[in-house]
Symmetry: C2
Subunit: 252 residues, 2 copies
């Protein structure tokens, strides 16, 4: 949001944005400070947001994101809309492997995790439904980047690429080659590129116009499987989901 004079809408949105996974509940003063609005303004806007249900205020006086906001947000076609279509296929993939299954979409230069199914014994992963991550390291991220518009690819490669582990590929030229291989192979592999103990294989999901709109991946413990063995599974799930997203009356 711009500095100085800000619209009411901008302030309200800034207040919603003040909540993060690290700060899921906030006092009024914290909320005002994080949103960059004065205390009385935060107080007034918060009262409205609470009355509507976008925020909830607990007995402790602290604010949290409210269920009503989530209800409305659940209508986002690229969020739960996509997830609803994909869910049966994600379930199948999970059931066969009992490993992490992830569904993600690209948002600008990042990915957003739309769904994640993980059993209790699956390898821990640094992802959260609704959370964002870089494109260049994860399996789903690589798929989304490989199929993104060229401008997006070049933009992503022009920025400094964070090295999550010694195996993360941060050299733009190497990454370009990798992205070309992803497009050629029809799947991406991320081996120890996010955490050293995790291997993920991801495949592209195509939407109504055959453009890649999301990616699905399996994340397993490194050294427990070969990517080649996992790829057909993941690709089958991706193809199934793509089929469901294909054009038809009232389609997505």
């Amino acid at each position: 949001m711009g500095e100085g004079a800000r619209s009411v809408t901008a302030k309200v949105l800034a207040m919603l944005e003040a909540f993060t996974p690290a700060t899921p509940d906030l006092s009024l003063s914290e909320l005002a400070r994080r949103a960059g609005v004065s205390l009385p303004t935060a107080h007034r806007r918060a009262a409205e947001l609470v009355a509507w249900g976008a925020l909830e205020r607990g007995a402790d006086g602290r604010y949290r994101i409210g269920l009503r906001l989530w209800e409305v947000a659940a209508l986002a076609p690229r969020g739960l809309g996509l997830r609803d279509v994909a869910m049966p296929f994600l379930e199948d993939l999970y059931e066969v492997t009992h490993e992490n299954v992830q569904l993600a979409v690209r948002e600008g230069l990042e990915l957003v995790f739309v769904e994640r199914i993980a059993g209790r014994h699956a390898v821990p992963v640094l992802t959260r439904v609704g959370g964002r991550f870089a494109l260049h390291a994860t399996g789903v991220g690589l798929v989304l980047l490989a199929h993104a518009p060229v401008e997006v690819q070049e933009q992503a490669l022009a920025a400094p690429l964070h090295a999550y582990t010694p195996k993360t590929i941060t050299d733009p030229d190497r990454l370009r080659e990798l992205l070309a291989a992803v497009r050629r192979n029809g799947y991406a592999v991320s081996d120890g590129q996010v955490t050293l103990d995790a291997l993920s294989v991801a495949a592209p999901i195509r939407g109504a116009d055959a453009a890649v709109v999301a990616a699905v991946s399996l994340v397993v413990r490194a050294d427990t499987a070969e990517p080649i063995a996992l790829a057909p599974l993941v690709q089958a799930a991706a193809r199934g989901i793509s089929r469901m997203l294909a054009p038809r009356p009232g389609g997505w």
Copy 2:
């Protein structure tokens, strides 16, 4: 929202609320009409919401709920926060049965579905993640109502109760008895009360202070199982989730 003069925040929220499962995408005029704001106002506010990501405008000029809103809303403790905790148990329940698994919370006089896992061959159910439903007919609804504050129960029973099928219990006295049985038994059964072909068994999930904060259910095709056989499964899942919600450092 009040009539006549309305705050900016109220108008913005009314615009978000204009989207429904039946109308997930709207033209500007439709959005303005549904939200009860003038066209220029809707145009201005929509532009801000789109810039921030709460709404997305497609090439067709139509507006949809945006991914950014969902990202923020994913932080709702009673939404995906609860779902994250419950997911492994829901998965277990799904895997044993391959039937519909549902997770819901109470919001006023209605329930909101927080999660739903359904295989491709499960009985069709009238539920949608993020959607609302009455309390008096579904398994999860009965559990939530049975454990709701007395004022809520009396309020719900005082309203006209919709009969989804001839088997739906709409008589307040009969419903009171049923709710008492739910509390006694530790689970609820809804047999043909929502759709004639569906039987659901639900159990309460308790939060940090042992109060019932959610309910989990299994929905199967009627006449394919006995509630008594399903109840222990559902209750085990509910107990597992409750355990994860129990007080502990940084707990939910």
